[in-house]
């Protein structure tokens, strides 16, 4: 459009002019620094070129310079919206190589933190997604502020447990860092009940809302075949009719002790993904309640009293550990050489794999749908670029 750049006019077969529009890396609806180069015919998107890498911070190289005791705190920064989950994957990989036992109480606490984190992460997703569709100066902002209000409660819980609100470092090789403080259980129960009620409020605000339905039903359909081909995971995959949840398919950290439902929707559109996540809210809260009810006594770490950062040594070997994060499979591939630091580390970010579905589903939609679809994928760019 500017006079400085050479005019390159693309015309399709029907004779209409094409417009190339940059969305991002700085854009109000980009969840982080994502750049989508859209090719438009009027309002319709005919092509999308996704550009990532603006938030690359050499996380994997950094892991080689930090000890097993230090890195979990840094691991939180890959997926900063669900910081607990990346720590979880890292310590599980280290424990698998070192064949380190984790006490039952620590396993339960890990599950509880991960599920609370899932609720917090989904709350942020619901808020930002509605803001994408509804605007910061419209009904979307209302939902966003409600969601943030509830997320605050979970962050308060984490703060009294760990001392931090965003990046925790709660997981530790061999267990967890802190036991529950006095009175924490009662606060947690109250919070869980409150959020359970409030989620019902969101559903009544959104499910019967014709404008909301018009924006997400039939938009961004991911077929089951496409979902399996591009390797998406988490709520996206379950929204496309594949019943795959690592907590059920490959239980870890005593997940087999808990009763919960794995929601599956078959339509594969934005509304299906919304439906899956709304059920997951409730199921996560259910798991937290079960943890609080059945929390065994005992130590919270099999390696208590470790003070020096070099005391955790992992024998030579390699392992891949995966957990079900709020956005899907979070995997950590770790190669240990017997020292206190890993030899090599590789992340499998759920958002990274999920993003790869965008170029397949966006063309043919309107510009407004691009942000709705992107929001329903729920990418966190810390995890995409690492």
């Amino acid at each position: 459009m500017t006079t400085a750049s050479p005019a390159r006019l693309e015309v399709d077969y029907a004779g209409s002019e094409r417009l190339t529009m940059n969305m991002g890396p700085q854009h109000p609806s980009a969840h982080g620094v994502f750049r989508a180069v859209l090719t438009l015919e009027g309002e319709t998107v005919v092509g999308v070129d996704a550009v990532i890498g603006y938030l690359h911070r050499c996380h994997e190289k950094l892991a080689e310079t930090l000890t097993y005791a230090q890195y979990p705190s840094i691991a939180s920064k890959t997926d900063y919206v669900a910081a607990m989950t990346s720590e979880f994957a890292y310590v599980r990989a280290a424990e698998t190589i070192g064949k380190i036992e984790v006490p039952k109480r620590a396993q339960y606490l890990r599950v509880m933190a991960a599920e609370l984190q899932r609720v917090a992460s989904h709350l942020l997703w619901l808020g930002t997604w509605c803001m994408d569709m509804g605007g910061a100066l419209g009904g979307g902002a209302t939902i966003f502020l409600y969601c943030i209000r509830e997320r605050e409660l979970i962050l308060d819980l984490f703060e009294s447990l760990v001392g931090a609100r965003l990046l925790y470092g709660f997981y530790q090789v061999g267990g967890v860092r802190y036991d529950l403080p006095a009175g924490w259980t009662a606060t947690c129960r109250e919070t869980v009940d409150l959020i359970d009620r409030r989620i019902g409020e969101y559903e009544s605000m959104l499910d019967d809302n014709p404008f909301f339905m018009a924006r997400c039903q039939g938009v961004g359909v991911i077929s089951r075949e496409l979902a399996e081909d591009v390797g998406i995971s988490g709520p996206l995959l379950r929204g496309s009719g594949v019943a795959w949840d690592l907590r059920r398919a490959d239980p870890y950290s005593s997940y087999e002790d808990f009763q919960f439902l794995v929601p599956v929707e078959s339509s594969g559109d934005c509304f299906a993904r919304y439906g899956v996540r709304m059920v997951e809210f409730r199921e996560s809260l259910k798991i937290v309640r079960q943890v609080l009810d059945g929390l065994p006594e005992g130590p919270v770490s099999s390696r208590p009293g470790l003070k020096s950062v070099a005391q955790t040594r992992i024998p030579k070997g390699e392992a891949y550990a995966r957990i079900e994060g709020p956005r899907g499979e979070v995997g950590c591939y770790l190669t240990a050489d017997g020292s206190a630091k890993p030899y090599r580390m590789k992340w499998r970010g759920a958002s990274f794999s999920n993003l790869s579905v965008l170029p397949h589903i966006i063309p043919g939609h309107k510009v407004a749908d691009v942000v709705a679809i992107m929001g329903s994928v729920d990418p966190v760019f810390g995890e995409v670029d690492r």
């Binding site: 500017t2 854009h27 910061a136 419209g138 009904g139």
Partner: protein, 326 residues
């Protein structure tokens, strides 16, 4: 007072009153939205944030005025004024009490429609002159939407006109002496709903704010505007909303009629207009935005035929009653 003097003073008073009310309407909206969202809203500037609009206005005046290098300068610079003028002119024919207004034309409501339809010129000039892709897309949407929604807006507003049998706004207000048109059986309520819906859309407010659509088009047609030019566009938008609120209160809520002495009339009118404004605000902060094709479909497939039918039905009722029906 000689009439020529009144003609000079009245517009001056109305213009300043409008600007004053618009300034404080923004605060009202922010407070109202904040309460909806379990926030407090502006609170720091003055008691209960009462000086916030003035601080905002001062801030906007002191901002640097940036013109994009590739902008079409005359069009870009003229657009805010072309947009603002019609938004201000719509107040010309609104009587704020019997005999209290700038010009009580015998085609007052027609003047309102004609003038408020002209704001699209300013919108498109802003979108085109900015030479920005987001602004251009927004301008295209603006033309689509404003034209689609002006028709149902006019048809919905014509229902009270038929009931009153006059295009003069003061006559319409006087015709509601016994019964406000919003309480007119069935027809009144349907027309009111259609009027509110098309008002929201014609004002480009959420959920029909696809022109602004900050999650897609950043800020739409005004993305390149800053400082006072931005303030003028903002002022025009709120003036339009306020004007439509006054029109709605006049057409459906009985304008200045209310208990108490006659001099309270303008107060009642303002109160009813604020009710209309808050109704629109309530809608704005409750729904997500809908897509451009859905907005057009809603207008052409639902709202336009419905308001046309309603207009016909009203005409039938009016003729029937005039011929001695119940």
């Amino acid at each position: 007072m000689p009439e020529s003097l009144t003609l000079l003073i009245a517009p001056f008073v109305v213009l300043n009153a409008v600007i004053g009310i618009v300034t404080y309407v923004t605060l009202l909206e922010r407070k109202f939205a904040a309460r909806m969202q379990s926030r407090i809203g502006p609170y720091r500037v003055g008691p209960h944030g009462l000086l916030q609009p003035i601080a905002d206005a001062l801030k906007l005046m002191m901002k640097e005025d940036i013109v994009p290098a590739a902008a079409d300068r005359p069009v870009y610079n003229l657009a805010p004024i072309v947009f603002l003028l019609p938004c201000m002119f719509i107040f010309a024919t609104i009587p704020f009490a019997p005999g209290l207004g700038v010009a009580d034309l015998n085609i007052g409501i027609l003047f309102f429609f004609a003038i408020s339809g002209m704001e699209i010129v300013g919108l498109f000039m802003a979108g085109w002159g900015s030479n920005n892709k987001y602004a251009l897309l927004s301008a295209m949407r603006a033309v689509n939407q404003v034209i689609s929604y002006d028709l149902p807006f006019i048809f919905a507003a014509l229902t009270p006109v038929l009931l009153a049998g006059s295009l003069r706004l003061s006559d319409i207000a006087a015709a509601q002496d016994g019964l406000w048109f919003v309480f007119y059986p069935v027809i009144g309520q349907l027309a009111f709903i259609a009027f509110v819906l098309s008002t929201v859309a014609a004002e480009n407010r959420a959920p029909f704010d696809i022109l602004e659509a900050e999650s897609e088009l950043v800020a739409g047609f005004r993305v390149e505007y800053s400082g006072m030019k931005f303030a003028l566009i903002q002022l025009g938008e709120y003036a339009h909303i306020l004007g439509s609120s006054f029109l709605g209160a006049l057409l459906f809520l009985g304008a200045w009629s209310g208990p108490g002495p006659e001099w309270l009339g303008p107060g009642w009118f303002l109160l009813k207009a604020m009710f209309m404004f808050l109704l629109v605000t309530w809608i704005r902060w409750s729904f997500v935005r809908i897509r451009v094709d859905q907005i057009l479909a809603l207008s052409w497939k639902a709202l336009l035929p419905a308001t046309l039918l309603l207009l016909l039905a009203t005409a039938v009722v009016v003729v029937w009653r005039a011929n001695g029906g119940a």
